[in-house]
Amino acid sequence: MEQAFQHTPTPQELADLKARELDAICVNESELVHPWWHNLKYAVWGILFGIVFVKAEIVSWFRIQEMFRFESFHMYGVIGTAVVVGLISVLILKRAKARTIYGEAIHIPTKTFNKGQIYGGLLFGLGWAITGACPGPLFAQMGAGFSVIIVTFVSAVAGTWVYGLLRDKLPH
């Protein structure tokens, strides 16, 4: 049997959720508490994801150059298919009022607009074309044996950290 149990959030936990929600699109909304190995179901999907990333050459710097030069359909096909499949899936889940495997109602947090999506988006785009990688592919490039990408990765973590440091001073 599952060791999960329903639990009412305390004020501290609500404050914690508020902190995590800042500038995040993915917040763990689930109120269930599980033992750690329940996380393996994310690791397994991650492995599949990593294999696809490498095999479809999505993590290739060359494919990103082709995309931004409009000289290949490949990456547009990947992202376009992913959005269409995701869109249809979300529609089905909503229509069916689907619940998670633990019986919780599925919840998708609503994104509110702020100017960070423009400034940050442009900055990320500039970096994406240089490194040829968004955050996901950085993990895949390191895993695939490009050890020098560790430097890019550490810089990306540093960038995130500096953002956290300066957040209150930046226009949003």
Partner: protein, 187 residues
């Protein structure tokens, strides 16, 4: 069979699997797909430094770290056992353009002329690794998500701020590729 798997996989296979990540994560644990947050959780776990933005219980988001750990492991498996023996097939105009900048090695997923340790301490290397990486980490967090969180999860759930962010990703990338990279590549 193995021969076929070793060939590059088509866009629709990759796109479908990436798209299915959205319902998978929702169904197995009410999680919204997003990868760049993992960088933030690493900050919160390793060096919160009393910064408000990193003061939260990162263990609640540990699933995200398991997911990205899986990505690295999956990439390792693909590179070790399923790797394509042939060089990358690049679009003709892209190949010509890159060759004019001295980049011709398509044996691996990344060009060895740029992405190797002996390039790290050149001006170009510093820009490609350190500055580029910093912009990816800073920019995705400032934007509140990356390609997965905004372009895939956000667009799939019809959130217009994510459309704004995705357009800005593309504009930034196009500006870099057409107006700045031609110079950076020759450094």
């Amino acid at each position: 069979m193995l021969e076929a798997i070793k060939q590059p996989w088509p866009w629709y296979v990759a796109g479908a699997l990436i798209g299915l990540t959205v319902p998978y994560l929702l169904l197995v644990g009410n999680k919204s797909f997003g990868i760049s947050s993992s960088l933030r959780h690493l900050c919160a776990a390793c060096l919160p430094a009393n910064i408000k933005f990193f003061k939260y219980d990162w263990k609640k988001e540990a699933w995200n770290l398991f997911f990205v750990g899986g990505i690295a492991l999956g990439a390792f498996i693909a590179a070790q056992f399923l790797s394509n023996p042939d060089p990358l097939v690049l679009a003709e105009p892209t190949a010509e353009y890159l060759a004019s900048k001295g980049i011709t090695d398509t044996a691996a997923l990344l060009p060895s002329e740029i992405f190797s340790w002996d390039q790290l301490f050149t001006l170009r290397g510093l820009i490609f690794f350190v500055v580029g990486g910093f912009m990816v980490g800073f920019g995705t967090r400032y934007a509140g998500g990356c390609t997965s969180g905004h372009a895939i999860m956000g667009l799939s759930s019809l959130q217009w701020p994510s459309l704004v962010a995705t357009c800005c990703f593309m504009v930034g990338g196009i500006v870099m590729t057409w107006f700045i990279l031609p110079f950076l590549l020759t450094l």
